[in-house]
Amino acid sequence: MIGARILKYAAFSRISAAEARRERSELYGRMVFFAVILGVFSSLWRAVAEAGMPVAADPKSLVWYLAATEWILLSAPPIHIDIQEAIRRGDVVYRLGHPASFVVSEFASGLGLLAVRAPFLGLTAFLCAFAFTGWTPPVSALLTVAPFGLAASGLMTALYLWIGLLAFWLQEVSPVFWLWQKLMFVLGGLMLPLELYPAFIQRAAAFTPFPTLLAAPASFVIGNGLVTPGALARQLAVWSGVTALVSFAIFRRAASMLTVNGG
């Protein structure tokens, strides 16, 4: 029974992965953007080093830190846009009668996209970071970042799904996404390791999933001891559980509203 369910949702992943492989222009665009961002930041970190590096890490490892955080961020597909459109157009009503959960099938489709994006963007991250620094972190660090980064991207996809579901009430979720994204940049330590931010921001970040998504997996590259692999696995499991519960609760409430309103 469980095996059949997994196969059913795996089909959603396979279809979206096949679509992503065919329509590669967005992926190529992301790869170019990724290379540019790493180039800009390698220049920035060199300039910061000239001005006196304010953190116990060299510019090279900070470029690799950014390569890891951006890889996680850019690999996660922005599925909230498709979900928002499905809700605004009313397509979601027709999906309610299907023998597949809307929430799980959208998440499975997102994972299919992630499976296509992550390897290409990972390769871009590795090649560009190496080209800009002429150095690589220890292999053991890269091997630790890869699985945790993929898991974090998966969790980020689930959080985008959660934002998309808000379209049941807001219709337009872009403003929520922008703010969420920028909070992730700051509280997740996207561009700067969290220890560079003021203490109150570090304390606030600890109550959010953002460090678990970005700073913690990427911290293995700079070896700042922010978190151990075991602790990070626990944090990812807890936030995944919370995200799943909230997503299902939101959708259940929205679906009951739709039924009351007649769709």
Binding site: V32, S43, V48, L196
Partner: protein
Amino acid sequence: MNTSHDLAFARALLATNMKSAVALRGAFLMQALFMALNNFTFFVFWWALMGRVTTLRGWSLGDIQVLFGVVAAAVGLTVSLAGGVRHLGRFIDDGNLDTLLTQPKSVLVYAIGLRSHPAGFGDLLSGVIFIVVSRQVSWPQVPLVVAAIAASAIVFAACGIVFFSLVFWLGKVESVATQLWDLLITFSLYPEPLFGGTLRFLLFTVLPAGFVGYLPARILHAPSMLNVGILVAGAIAYLCVAVLIFDRGLRRYASGSRFTTFG
């Protein structure tokens, strides 16, 4: 083409767009507010970094605030007054220009003036706040600030027209054009001294982040008639090139045989 008629038409389009945007007051305010918050949150990165290193190759936090302010206000002005520029590619590809071609008005002015994005007003507001809090600009310089933002917005709009007009020749390249637009914004937001050599040349030509951000910021920091002249000449030149490219592209435009009305 009659310029005074085009300007009168652009004013009428703007008035209609404003009425339409403000009609949904809640959505308008939310999008504008969230965009402003989005910009302030993004700036936390610079605030944290410059709190540690004071200057980056001669640039202080105030200089970066001016740069951010000019770029944010210029982007805001562009998408508020000429929001259709970001939809130009899809417009051309879908054959939606058919309806505009039958009108006795400039097709380009009509196409880019058809939409106004409420988020642009948030960009504009946050841009002005960044410039004010930078304490780099005094009251007598206000006309210069307005002129610098206007020139920067003209270059932004011109680049948008050029990037999205590529659809006339290359077909479905809207995502590439969007990436080019995003790259222009990305490069414009980082201090000029970070870039050198060929890249610096490209940033004043192909991807004119120099005219969008660096030069206006330099003028506000140390006003000089020479730089003002270069900025004005650059803005006019980019606009002329954009109009020329759009007109050339329009000759290649193939009808979509659509029956749609606007207004």
